[in-house]
């Protein structure tokens, strides 16, 4: 969702090229129209160019290529027909059909949403809003247009973005198996050597962090807890973070404790790299793949997180951040694995009840 699919990049270039051309066309033709009409005209041209640009990279999918070509040509034609009597209703119908059709494509799994697709959706939605603005002085259809603008644009925006997001969460790609996290690319199946290396890392880490079963020892060693209003808490050692230890079992940057009614119970360690995008060594191949939390909304109030929306917005008071790559080692029996991204909540619950 936050990447650009290789076969969609050409659409982005086509859309960017269309912007100055559409503005130039308006100027050359001396079309004296309102700002809403000229805005809608330019946005239609951009959306059309994006769709035309995608025809070549989708030539193996006949139906999709035909739809892109037809849709793109119609958009471009409509961008130049702003004085035509039926310009508005035809453009509104085409945009609505395109958006609903695209949602259908996503639901059926025929396409995966990416930045070009979402940006084109936003361009189309804005064009729809501009087209529905009533022309001053024309009383007929005024109320209908305002109603359509007040209902159709918000509704279509919500439906389109919800579809994009639900699809992204329900059908993540191999590198986004976890919401808000990018997993390091590795080979698919661990080799015997990688399995042995992973077990060695696990054993050494489990032994090294054993003294921190008592949280006071961890505190004395420089680990400090994050917010404790959640079932688990990461205790970070800023000295180890700054020192830049890389996958050193004796110096894990973080410890993870379950917050139980008996006090903090050590359940694992966390290794962290210093820089965003710099994945660490991966001795266990797919078993010890690092992960990096991307596009998460972080608020300093309570150090809490949520996920950034497809429209790249975070709640007020939260900012979009990306964390440096990290690798967890779980010393309790975690169904997801010893190096899984998350601890199973059921495990934490069992520890709490023990």
């Amino acid at each position: 969702m936050f990447d650009i699919a290789p076969d969609h990049a050409i659409g982005l270039y086509a859309g960017l090229c269309a912007l100055p051309l559409a503005l130039f066309a308006l100027r050359v033709r001396h079309v004296d129209v309102t700002a809403t009409v000229s805005g809608a005209s330019v946005l239609l041209a951009i959306a059309g160019a994006v769709h035309i640009g995608l025809v070549w990279t989708h030539r193996d999918e006949a139906l999709t290529a035909i739809l892109f070509a037809g849709n793109g040509l119609l958009y471009i034609a409509l961008s130049q027909l702003c004085r035509w009597r039926w310009w508005r209703p035809v453009s509104v119908a085409l945009i609505t059909a395109t958006l609903l059709g695209y949602n259908g494509y996503i639901v059926l799994g025929l396409d995966a949403p990416d930045q070009v697709a979402i940006a084109t959706d936003l361009v189309e939605l804005t064009a729809l809003g501009l087209l529905l603005i009533p022309t001053s002085g024309v009383s007929r259809w005024r109320a209908t247009r305002w109603t359509a603008l007040g209902v159709a644009v918000p509704l279509l925006t919500m439906v389109t973005m919800a579809t994009v997001w639900i699809d992204d969460l329900a059908r993540p790609n191999a590198q986004h198996a976890h919401a808000g996290a990018v997993v390091q690319a590795t080979n698919e199946v661990a080799t015997p050597a990688q399995s042995a290396a992973a077990q060695r890392l696990y054993d050494e880490t489990a032994v090294a962090i054993r003294p921190y079963a008592d949280w006071r020892a961890a505190f004395a060693a420089g680990y400090r807890p994050g917010p404790q209003n959640t079932p688990t808490t990461h205790w970070m050692n800023q000295h180890y973070v700054d020192a830049g230890y890389v996958l050193d079992p004796r110096h894990p940057q973080g410890l993870v404790y379950a917050n139980t009614k008996h006090g903090p119970v050590l359940i694992g360690a966390m290794f962290e790299m210093r820089r965003i995008g710099q994945f660490g060594p991966d001795p266990g191949g797919p078993l010890t793949a690092w992960h990096q939390h991307t596009n998460i909304c972080f608020t300093p109030f309570g150090f809490e997180f949520s996920l950034m929306s497809p429209t790249a917005t975070c709640p007020l008071g939260a900012i979009d951040i990306t964390t440096p790559p990290m690798l967890h080692v779980w010393i309790v029996n975690n169904p997801g694995g010893q190096f899984a991204i998350d601890i199973d909540p059921k495990v934490v619950k069992q520890i709490d009840q023990a």
């Binding site: 004296d32 700002a35 930045q115 936003l122 949520s306 790249a312 709640p315 007020l316």
Partner: protein
């Protein structure tokens, strides 16, 4: 005589402000499940964000009705948004600088400011 092109700038700004309000509404709704899962502060921020979305719609209506105060408020809001985006772009926090983020967090506020910067006399 005022050219027709300048007359509908507030209407165009209205559409963009409504779009921006929708984006904030989506952000607020998306944070709500985290609030429900125990993140108390995130729940508060979700509510605040939804209130901001409503306030933005009201501001958009004010712009549509050519209210001078609404115009000033909208411009101030967009300047704050642009400033915030610029700061996040510069800070090494891994802020998303993708296409949609650029459109929503930079191009959209800039377009609203450009649309509202002229025609001050059209507002009452």
């Amino acid at each position: 005589m005022t050219r027709p092109e300048t007359n509908s700038r507030p209407e165009a700004a209205f559409v963009l402000l409504v779009m921006q309000a929708m984006f904030w509404l989506i952000a607020g709704i998306s944070a709500a499940p985290f609030g429900a899962a125990g993140e108390i502060h995130m729940a508060g921020l979700a509510v605040l964000t939804m209130l901001l979305a409503i306030a933005t719609v009201l501001c958009a209506l004010g712009v549509l009705w050519r209210k001078r105060r609404a115009r000033a408020l909208a411009i101030a809001l967009e300047v704050v948004c642009l400033f915030g985006s610029a700061v996040l772009w510069l800070l090494p926090v891994g802020f998303n600088t993708g296409l949609v983020s650029t459109l929503v967090n930079a191009a959209l506020p800039l377009a609203i400011i450009v649309l509202l910067r002229k025609d001050q006399q059209a507002f009452s």
